[in-house]
Symmetry: C2
Subunit: 301 residues, 2 copies
């Protein structure tokens, strides 16, 4: 399909609405006990957000000709894992952030104990959805593989491990390889999972195609983070929905702080080129994935 | 099989050793990055403990004639979920405990951020094990059901929800029904899961047998907690491995504080009788489960 800005914006709006409806369905109702815990879970997940990870799931499904209904569960699972990680990362013992997605962080709106338990419960919910959602692929072995990927890439050897590396790096001087290792875990792993979960929803892909998609996912996973670091320098708080300069203020290593702003921007563009290269075996059906790679390095929030 | 104290102790020792070996296998090595996070995960899980939940898994498997190798993964998963919940429950924002299993709690030995991430990573690991362990039942649909049970019963409508109810109850006066609701979630749900995961490892059970096992599990899940409350009053810190009187000191509602010590002891014995009644459709192959029910209400730590 031929993608331009208008079509892309319309697709993104569709995907956002689609996943929000599905999230609302899977989240426990706010009037069911324990009420405060369920309110906190809904507050954190349903907060206005870009829904980047669900968009990636749906876009990959579109590129592969998979019915979106078959990946609603995967889209919800990755967004819920992302939301739980934000709740815990924002806690006083971690990044100690007050603002997230333009609103008070979960522990500021509720309390620390509720925020910890909301994160814990959301993680469990993500796995529940994949194990339970009968609209996903009926292939139980494929869904087990989805759970395997999601648990591996969100745990100590993926996202949570990346956050541990991140915390250990505060105030330290990292080289570019160390910074990259951190981001490959902290952000990249879950972004790779988005594409893998969508790909596991079909059995029509050969190994070459799977590897090409994973190579694409690795490139955009890193370019997303490079751009995040750039926006921490060049963005403004209102557009970002979080404190501009928060990382530099906390003396966290970032791409601009290590290689400078211009080299960071070049790095983001290089990664975009790598992503396009990885997709070269696909035809125009993958244009939406190409467009997303461009969006990642051109976004302003 | 005819169970007496000597045979039971020997079986328990076997199960404990068996699950510790399996846990050591599944936990990331302490010298793999991020090292501190992996050390914290191992510290919390491999701490000396009764391994009550794995014992329940193995005992149920023994009663049902299931090869223990098929439930190693389930035994590890429930123990790891239990360990993650202890790490998070002990945090300053929750129960603020310094001592657990006779050693400093995870956040005291490491730090709060590491403890939060260790708990998060352990939860992911539990689901990873069930999704990945090829020695478990090869029936992928059965393993999806295990993940469904474990995620449901450990999340906001199970264990984590019970902890939220528990925190909300501090300093409040609960009636006995409210206290029971709390414990059914906080402790009972995961204990039920132990028996269900073992039962899902075979397809030889009919609905009557499954319901009988679940009824047994509900009774012992509650009797375990009643006895815990009793020990908080009658035990001593050294035997318990945690602070005696911690619950009463924190003004937490307990069975003895609501119905008195003697009525609590009678309640535990009633639940034991219910558990035996539920098992009446099974023969002597279930004697180990009967023995466990007695152990739960007679234990001193």
């Amino acid at each position: 399909m031929k993608i331009d800005a208008r079509l892309f914006d319309s697709l993104v709006a569709d995907y956002q609405q689609r996943v929000d409806t599905a999230l609302d369905h899977w989240l426990p109702p706010a009037d069911v006990n324990p009420v405060r815990l369920h309110q906190a879970m809904r507050y954190a997940v349903l907060a206005p957000g870009k829904r980047v990870r669900p968009i990636l799931v749906y876009a990959t499904a579109a590129a592969l000709g998979i019915d979106p209904q078959r990946v609603d569960g995967a889209a919800c699972a990755v967004e819920i894992i992302h939301a739980y990680s934000l709740i815990h990362d924002d806690l006083p013992a971690m990044d100690d952030d007050d603002l997230r997605r333009g609103r008070p962080t979960c522990h500021r709106e509720f309390d620390e104990a509720t925020a910890i338990l909301a994160g814990d419960s959301l993680q469990a919910l993500a796995f529940y959805i994949i194990s339970h959602d009968s609209a996903m692929t009926p292939d139980a072995a494929a869904r087990l593989q989805m759970i395997e990927k999601l648990s591996l890439f969100s745990g100590s050897r993926g996202m949570a491990g990346g956050q541990a590396i991140d915390l250990a790096a505060v105030g330290k001087s990292l080289n570019i390889a160390e910074l990259e290792t951190m981001h490959i875990h902290k952000t990249g792993a879950l972004i790779r999972t988005c594409i893998q979960l969508a790909a596991l929803s079909t059995d029509a892909l050969d190994d070459t195609q799977l590897q090409a998609l994973d190579s694409y996912a690795k490139s955009i996973g890193l370019s997303f983070q490079v751009q995040d670091d750039i926006l921490d320098v060049t963005g403004d708080t209102e557009t970002l929905g979080k404190m501009q300069g928060a990382d530099s203020a906390r003396n966290k290593p970032t791409y601009p702080s290590i290689i400078g702003l211009q080299a960071s921007q070049e790095k983001a563009l290089d990664l975009h080129q790598n992503a396009l290269q990885a997709l070269s075996i696909f035809g125009e059906e993958a244009d939406i994935l190409r467009y997303i790679s461009a969006w990642f390095v051109e976004r302003r929030n």
